[in-house]
Amino acid sequence: MDMKLEAKNLTFAYRKGTPVFKDISFTLEKGDVFCILGQNGAGKSTLLNCIGRLFDINGGTILVDGKNIADMNRMEIAKKIGYIPQFHTPVFPYTVFDFVLMGRTPHLGALSAPKKKDKAIAQKAIDEVGITHLMEKPYSEISGGEKQLVMFAKVLAQEPELILLDEPTSHLDFGNQFKILSMIEDLAKRGYSIVMTSHFPDHSFLVSNKVGVMQGQSFIDIGPANEVVTEENMRRTYGLDVKIVLIEEAGRKVCVPLKNNGQQHQDMQSFEQ
């Protein structure tokens, strides 16, 4: 079956405050990678949480395969939508295997624990992500990059159609960032749809086929990375002068901030002197 996500006129506000965003609409097809860019506090993570109904929207509708998620219960949503939070440390040091196995929760009855079949699925997810050697290690004793891979294994064990990623590369070193990005690309090829937030415009060129730039309660632009991640849009969003150039060897564009960028940079220099 082909997964489809339709978000129409989404509006959300914490309590009775001013809306974090309003009238946001977009559509995702199977295998799409949708990258949400924007400043800190622009509401990227909030939007992500609303898509998974971890927060309830105040207006608009979210349809997954034509079904309104407001009419679905948690279990039904969890079978369709997986979620990887930005940063996570459990209080108890479960082993990697036990932790990945928790991904099977939406497929289990109220009183039941994972069966052989669930364990086999968790095992397969661990193998696919390439962390078989970490299986018996406590989750608390592995590195940040490994933790993120464990989260991917957990979400694969969940068997959703759509995966929400909240800044999947934050806290990761240079090498691990690309490892995670290629994993995202790989998942999209296998038919998962992905919505991710990011602080790096470059990442949108790398993995996404759709980008939304959030600014002032809405998307200022939405579409393919090549059309949306422009020098003009980046200046509007981050207040930075950037140069976007095509690197032939890499076969894609990159986004580079220019020197003497605004007041902050000069302050920094005088501070250093």
């Binding site: 309590r15 949480n49 998974g52 971890l54 219960n73 948690r74 279990m75 039904e76 949503i77 969890a78 079978k79 939508i81 997986g82 979620y83 939070p85 996570h88 440390t89 459990p90 209080v91 108890f92 040091p93 479960y94 082993t95 036990d98 928790m102 991904g103 929760t105 939406p106 109220a110 009183l111 039941s112 624990a113 994972p114 406590p138 608390s140 969940q158």
Partner: protein, 334 residues
Amino acid sequence: MNAKLKTLALFLSPFIIFLVSLCIGRYSIPITTVVKILSSKIFEAPVTWTDIMESVVINVRFPRLIIVSLVGASLAISGASFQGILKNPLVSSDILGVASGAGFGAALAILFFPGATSIQMFAFAFGMLAVALAYGINSFYKRSSTLILVLSGIIVSSFFSSLISLMKYTADPETKLPEIVFWLLGSFASVTVDDVFQYAPYMIVGIIVLLALRWKINVLSLDDMQAKSLGLNIKRYQGVIIFFCTLISAAAVCVSGIIGWVGLIVPHIARMIVGPNNSKVLPASVVIGMSYMIIIDDIARTLVANEIPMGVLTGIIGAPFFGYLLFRQRVGWT
């Protein structure tokens, strides 16, 4: 193989300790006689023992040990469950106020409605009421969280503790005050067969429900966003688990008085042995709680002429023992 043997030893230990404990006490009985007396209840056997022996084993020690082991199991499993769902290894079975609520109920009954049955009923009812209050305060908050739930428990606990002090202050220092104080110190000395029939079912049912939910406690111990994204209705599961934890600890407290420490340290000992997975921690807590409580009770009734209160011993023996374990092994949390 080694691990399997360890598990087997763990799960057999309470039964062996139970059997041995039937022999020891003021009036000691050889283990072979105890086994014969017990089996005579199931099979026909020639009577080779005195009536006193039979009465001591069947009417006194057996019901007492049943209650002792169930109380140990109840406090331990509710402590383990609370530590899991409240995502905090420092909480115990008392965290939401069940012990101080029950204590107040008992003190109230001792002052105004004396009698063993009414003291138990008041203790049970107020133990449940205290937790209901804590849960209610938490529900007042729109964005309730586990932190607010724990704080509500602390509020309710300290409120009832103050009420207990008030009861003590107004009690007759010659008669009522010592009774209140001794009740609060905890003891199994006055356990009867009736207690077994009245309160054991609550404890058994509660323990079974918590055991059935033990794997879910793993998921509930993650942060709320993750548990939610995995499809769990957190409020409902938390409510059910809190209800059954409270049911069994209220039943435990009302027959034994307040016994601290067990609900805090036994889950930690369990984690040291079986690791952090609650699928194993909860059953292990049950058997370790049983063994621990029986041993402490054995000491309480054999060490000196008068029985030593349980609440005194669990701490005096438990605290250094736990300190020793912490020193020996890495603990099961970060």
